[in-house]
């Protein structure tokens, strides 16, 4: 297990006052706030900073950590000595700034819920496990048809000898169709394990859509660009279009212009009510790369001599 340099994470010295630690934390919390930060590793850095603050802002945890750091042999793989926390009492209030589930194996083995349970002494009260939160990425087809995704979660628990161990748990999750971007889905009883026989918490997954340049999504409404030939737009046509809802035949009305939207009611993301699918027409021009094609364009130029495509620009 890797020893965490919490003072370094917050950029403060070991003699920093509580106030200095708080100031350093807030500065970094602004910098790495996942909703606004431009840093590529903002979420990971925020978790690291939260973890450091959870320890250094708590006088008991900080004192125990300092003692542990003094006894540590540099460069060696870290295992907490059996009596490392003798004389300290940690509150069971959890972290002030994050979920234990987000924190490292190092934190969980020393200060996490399972570790607190190990040091709970005579207190054997049942306790429900904490709810956990994670994000899950799906694509638009998954929202239409449902999907199964594997999720790997790290969790700390007590083994048979009462030692805290961190294990990876893989969940196969069936995501129902009709899910929207930003929506949360819940897996009952899949959060942190309960203590002393208490029930496990729930796992909440916030859904993100994988970026797909073909589609624009607003709630359950989906917009897709469809290329059409000039004669299809001008004369009207029935065209076959592959959509997230499957292949559909669509009637393009005669006289359609570039950018016209055709609405397919109820063909958006399923739900109650389902969203709509909008097909936005985009004119695709055949290349003038043969003598015949050039002749056809020249004929058009002659026949449409009064047509001014830049009329609206005042040209």
């Amino acid at each position: 297990m890797e020893f965490k340099e919490y003072y370094k994470s917050l950029g403060v010295g070991q003699t920093a006052s509580t106030d200095e630690i708080k100031k350093a934390y807030r500065k970094l919390a602004r910098k790495y706030h996942p909703d606004v930060s431009k840093e590529t590793d903002a979420s990971a850095r925020m978790a690291e900073v939260n973890e450091a603050y959870a320890v250094l802002s708590d006088p008991e945890k900080r004192a125990a950590f300092d003692k542990l750091a003094q006894r540590r042999a540099a460069g060696q793989d870290f295992q907490p000595p059996p009596d490392w926390d003798a004389g300290f009492h940690f509150s069971d209030a959890g972290s002030p700034v994050g979920d234990d589930g987000d924190f490292s194996e190092f934190f969980n083995s020393l200060f996490g819920r399972a570790a607190r349970a190990r040091h709970g002494g005579g207190a054997r009260a049942q306790m429900r496990g904490a709810d956990q939160h994670a994000k899950i990425s799906i694509n638009l087809a998954d929202a239409y048809h449902g999907a199964t995704r594997s999720l790997a979660l790290r969790e700390a628990r007590l083994d048979e000898s009462g030692n805290v161990v961190t294990a990876e748990r893989v969940l196969d999750v069936r995501i129902p169709k009709g899910v929207k971007e930003g929506q949360s889905i819940r897996l009952r009883g899949q959060g942190s394990p309960g203590l002393n026989g208490g029930p496990a918490g729930d796992l909440y997954l916030e859904v993100e859509f994988e970026p797909d340049a073909r589609y624009r999504i607003e709630g359950r409404d989906v917009t897709q660009t469809v290329s059409v030939a000039p004669w299809e737009a001008a004369l009207g046509a029935t065209i076959e279009v592959p959509t997230p809802a499957g292949r559909v035949e669509v009637k393009v009305p005669a006289g359609s212009s570039n950018g016209r939207k055709l609405r397919l009611k109820g063909r958006g993301i399923p739900g109650n009510p389902p969203g709509d699918l909008y097909l936005e027409l985009e004119l695709a021009l055949p290349p003038a790369n043969t003598e015949k094609a050039r002749e056809l364009y020249q004929t058009m130029a002659r026949e449409f001599s009064s047509f001014n495509p830049r009329e609206q620009m005042g040209a």
Partner: protein, 103 residues
């Protein structure tokens, strides 16, 4: 070993009650009630009981985080949540227009 497939439930089709929202945010139920009564956090109501959807859960978690990380009062945390929601909406609009412009 083959894992059993777990069925996920969409929040919104099945909303959260007060206790569930509080638990998901790791706060006591009074924290939620205070903010609903102050108009900082919305909820829907069913048979006189508060119910919460996905958007409420995300907002409540943002408010908790802001209050804890910055010792912010509840009004300031709600203002931060408002601004983040606004930024998200504007980013979506920019993305939609950029895609539209590219075709």
């Amino acid at each position: 070993m083959t894992q059993p497939k777990l069925d996920a439930v969409l929040i919104d089709e099945e909303t959260l009650d007060l206790q569930e929202l509080a638990s998901a945010c790791a706060v006591p139920p009074t924290w939620v009630v205070e903010r609903v009564e102050a108009g900082l956090l919305a909820c829907s109501s069913s048979a006189g009981e508060m119910r919460f959807a996905s958007a409420h859960l995300v907002r409540a978690r943002r408010m908790v985080t802001t209050e804890r990380r910055f010792d912010a009062n509840q009004e300031l945390a709600a203002l931060v949540a408002d601004l983040i929601e606004e930024v998200e909406q504007l980013r979506r609009q920019v993305q939609t227009r950029a895609k539209g412009a590219r075709g």
